[in-house]
Symmetry: C2
Subunit: 600 residues, 2 copies
């Protein structure tokens, strides 16, 4: 495999060098650019972020931002992204297009509204190329799990192998064993495949979605591209208000990452918010609607069983999961077992025909420190373990959702139990939040728990934004949530000793030690804010090449002294001990002052 440089494409050698966000003034870093690692076939190109250092080296980082950061690819949100995977899917020959379910006004929650509906700024219907949904020809599983079990390495598997820097066989094995999922609906050919499993890099999901109260389609599409730009590996569209169908269409057609949903939310809109009026038929229809659109994974709260509902009665905060409480309300109203649990096998059959991945929801997750690891939570987890085994029988890829609010000393029990009960299926946790007392900072209360649980084996972390418990996240909140969770994920990659994870830290620390400020910024998880903070204290341009920083100022600098020590004492232990006294004299004689001769 070779890295193809998006700056000098074969077909446009005379184009301008294309760069990231720093300027190209002479003598300065051009920052970073998008490049591609080619696989075994020309249409298998894995995107990477190539950071160019001022010392001539470069660092290759995992990239989730999609074609939006590639200036050689034209993108137009009204047309959607190029369907990368289309030929791979067609070539397998096991799926076919079909008419599909007709889209109805109530899919968008529209009943009494004018044709212009509640849609703002964008057309009601996605204007991109016409498409028909696709499903398996024979009703059998066309899932990456089915292929992996048969020993096939798909282009999707090769793609993620390159992305993760492992062999394709490792990818296949992990999927086949159910320890990893590769969410990739046959109706979402636009995605750049990624994998979720404990042997791979820890992933981050960002939630977006309008609600009954606020926000528009346009905002949601922008939040999706914004979230992936900062590193979101998947995006869940949790829209609950009007225009759910149309919002999702826009998001899917423009998303380079897998999209997850909670079909129950849309189903509830279709019965005007009356949980007791939900039926298996309405739910199933909604799942098919979303599967035809291309949703890659669906949260299904089939573990909220009738007998577990009373277990929540004496909790401090009851049921805090929206899906969990919808199902609890339904069970109570009818005094019947959950229709999701009862019809789970049929649901498996549907999901298998599109390769929709299960995300088995933890509807009874604890919503407060007091409720962590209680009977309700673990009763549901045991049911999820049972459902996981059923899903696997149908070749449906499956991950398991986890809490929630959990104090640090109770976190490990969650992942250990989940791994045991669910046969090592990927765990996908929301935080957990390690205290309840800091609304407005729950990205941090949960970032702590997220880093820990990921170190111990959680495969994907669902981000929490500063607005959790208080309101809907705006653009800044989405960014803060993603960055916080990328920190947690990377900290976990380091703690797990993931091969190559530390290279990034080392490159940044080298740059820091050598006062290569521009390199520090460009290697940072958030170059913009790092640069802005530096400039706040030392705004002048020379400060970015200065061999000191604002903490100590120019008169004295710790790093400078360490550089002197290295110059004076580097080498083997023997050399060091031998030469120490002598070199110390040289150090003094040479006037190697501990401060730099820059005017105060």
């Amino acid at each position: 495999m070779t890295i193809k440089d998006a700056r000098t494409p074969a077909s446009s050698q005379d184009e301008q060098p294309i760069q990231g966000e720093t300027s190209t003034e002479a003598g300065k870093s051009i920052g970073w650019h998008k490049a591609y690692v080619e696989g075994s076939r020309p249409d298998l190109r894995v995107p990477v972020r190539q950071v160019h250092l001022t010392n001539g080296q470069s660092v290759t980082l995992y990239d989730t931002s999609g074609p939006y950061t590639d200036p050689l690819t034209e993108t137009d949100v009204r047309r959607g992204l190029t369907p990368l995977r289309e030929n791979w899917i067609i070539a397998r020959g096991d799926t076919a297009e079909y008419a599909g379910r007709p889209v109805r006004p109530e899919d968008d929650g529209i009943k009494h509204t004018s044709p212009r509906g509640g849609l703002r700024n964008l057309d009601a219907v996605f204007p991109g190329r016409p498409r028909q949904p696709r499903r398996s020809r024979d009703g059998k599983a066309v899932t990456q799990l089915a292929y992996a079990r048969r020993g096939e390495i798909t282009p999707e598997m090769e793609f993620v192998a390159i992305r993760e820097n492992v062999s394709p066989e490792v990818v296949r094995e992990e999927i086949a064993a159910g320890r990893a999922v590769l969410p990739a609906n046959v109706n979402h050919p636009e995605i750049e495949p990624m994998i979720i499993g404990k042997r791979f890099l820890v992933k981050v999901n960002a939630n977006i979605g309008n609600s009954a109260v606020t926000s528009s389609i346009e905002e949601e599409v922008e939040k999706m591209t914004w979230a992936t730009r900062w590193g979101a590996d998947t995006v869940m569209d949790l829209s609950t208000g009007r225009n759910i169908h149309t919002t999702r269409e826009w998001v899917l057609r423009n998303s380079p990452v897998p999209i997850g949903t909670v079909p129950l939310y849309q189903a509830l809109e279709k019965v005007d918010g009356r949980a007791e009026e939900l039926t298996w038929e309405i739910y199933k229809d909604t799942v098919i609607e979303q599967a035809e659109q291309g949703v890659d994974y669906m949260t299904v709260h089939a573990g909220v069983r009738l007998p577990y509902v009373p277990l929540t009665a004496n909790r401090k905060t009851g049921i805090v999961s929206r899906g969990g409480s919808i199902m609890a309300a339904w069970c109570l109203a009818h005094h019947k077992e959950s229709f999701l649990y009862e019809n789970f096998e049929e649901l498996c059959e549907i999901l298998a025909t599109y390769d929709v991945t299960y995300s088995l929801g933890d509807g009874l997750r604890p919503g407060s420190i007091a409720d962590a690891n209680d009977e309700a939570q673990f009763a549901e987890l045991r049911t999820l373990g049972e459902l996981n085994q059923i899903a696997k029988r149908f070749n449906v890829q499956t991950m398991i959702e986890g809490p929630g609010h959990v104090p640090m000393h109770k976190i490990k029990e969650n992942i250990d139990l989940q791994q045991e009960i669910c046969d090592e299926a990927p765990f996908y946790t929301l935080g957990p939040l390690t205290t309840d007392v800091a609304p407005a900072y729950d990205h941090i209360t949960s970032g702590i728990g997220a880093a820990m649980i990921a170190w111990w084996g959680t495969a994907m972390l669902c981000y929490v934004t500063p607005k959790e418990h208080l309101g809907l996240p705006n653009r800044d909140d989405v960014k803060t949530g993603v960055i916080t969770y990328k920190i947690a994920a990377h900290a976990a990659d380091l703690a797990k000793g993931h091969p190559g994870a530390q290279d990034w830290d080392d490159a940044l620390s080298d740059a820091r030690f050598e006062f290569r400020w521009e390199d520090q910024f460009n290697l940072a998880l958030d170059p913009d804010t790092a640069r802005e903070f530096h400039d706040e204290t030392l705004p002048a341009e020379p400060a970015k090449t200065a061999h000191f920083c604002s903490m100590c100022g120019p008169k004295f600098c710790s790093m400078k002294i360490s550089q002197d020590i290295r110059r004076t004492h580097g080498g083997s232990r023997e050399e060091i001990e031998e030469g120490m006294a002598q070199k110390s004299q040289e150090f003094a004689a040479a006037g190697n002052r501990v401060y730099l001769p820059i005017a105060d």
Copy 2:
């Protein structure tokens, strides 16, 4: 002990009720107010933050904000705080005032400046009441450790016992065993005593300080009161530029919390930044200068020994501690053992006469993931263990500083080794930062490590602000750093099962579950931001009494459903199982819809 209500003081019954930050409109919460818990004597009044809930209950929280949040106490930064402890210190009869060391212009780094010097806005010399320094009468130890070892429970110990809700005997025992410190210089009678030890609440330190590059005295005093307002338990004044002495005087006279310093920084200023020109005499003189002013604890980098310096030569980021690199430079320049190590016993004698607590600095702490837990770091730690034993011989209270940059899987080794080597002396760590790749977010990279290491036994956490590695923290950064670290500390208190710690979480979660929005805000670590975030999405006043929030909107609400479940199914397990089917019918019959009848 009784709680004395600052709203209705005996002497001013007719005064207005005094409240926190929420308005007092009829029917609304008055938020919170400052109260005092009285001890065994009238001059022993422990401040608490009393939060008043709309359900008539109240919650008592630990309070570090000092008299500034007590509207019955007049404060004036030009006069300084009332010296609370003065009578306790005098009553012991073991100290006396003396003339003290004359203050010299070079203490403020002033050599060539006009009388107005670099001082802005505030007078050069602190204008408060004249005072003479105090020290022990006979040169013997007047430390809380000495008293504890003799079996004496001082008023300071009783104060912290009330604050921590433990018996005074526990406080005395922990101090006597060297497992806790109560930093309280006899020259800093203004402080409200606090304790640092693993059996107590985890504490947070905030660093302030001007530097050669930026910031004024006024700003530093304001940063100190600001940091304590948000929960800083101690403050370190790390000033390095001009006016060090005067800045410190202003900070000390106005600080309700113990103040720490690194005397080496000022000593370096006195030799114009030339580390090799430092001498034991200059250092000792600086320590006495600061002890006379009232510094409660001092970071001393006596563990950076000559033979350890070469161990840093092949590190990725060398020596990143400012104090560590000053001492390394000195050792190298002279090829001599550290003057701090060589004169450590004399230093102990000095500190004992003022009750200055040692914070034995980790000058060789790792500055990058690559350097964590290396030979240099642990060699120094072993020396700190040796110095801890010497300090204890002189009855000097001692804590040990810790790293730095450490990936999660290497954190536990740090605290375990420190506790073993240093005879369980309190560990005081900077983070640790769990990855290097997120400059501008190092409050978060380090908050993760801080929470974990505190859970495992670290007694105090030194905050890290978003500006770490990039610039000097401003007011907002100080607040963000303190709040992040209060989260880490409280998460650790919960994980350690600290008695009563969860009451706070429970009170907030109850308020959340019952939609008592104002109570949620008032109980939050940062009520202002929580309220602001809520109002961003749902600004109208009725939204603060509404039984829904912006996440789901009025049509459907998880919490509401849980409340229905509790109403329907609360009680013993038997009652629940018995009544379930019947109640389910009632539920449906009563039209208990899963959404609220609020207009969409």
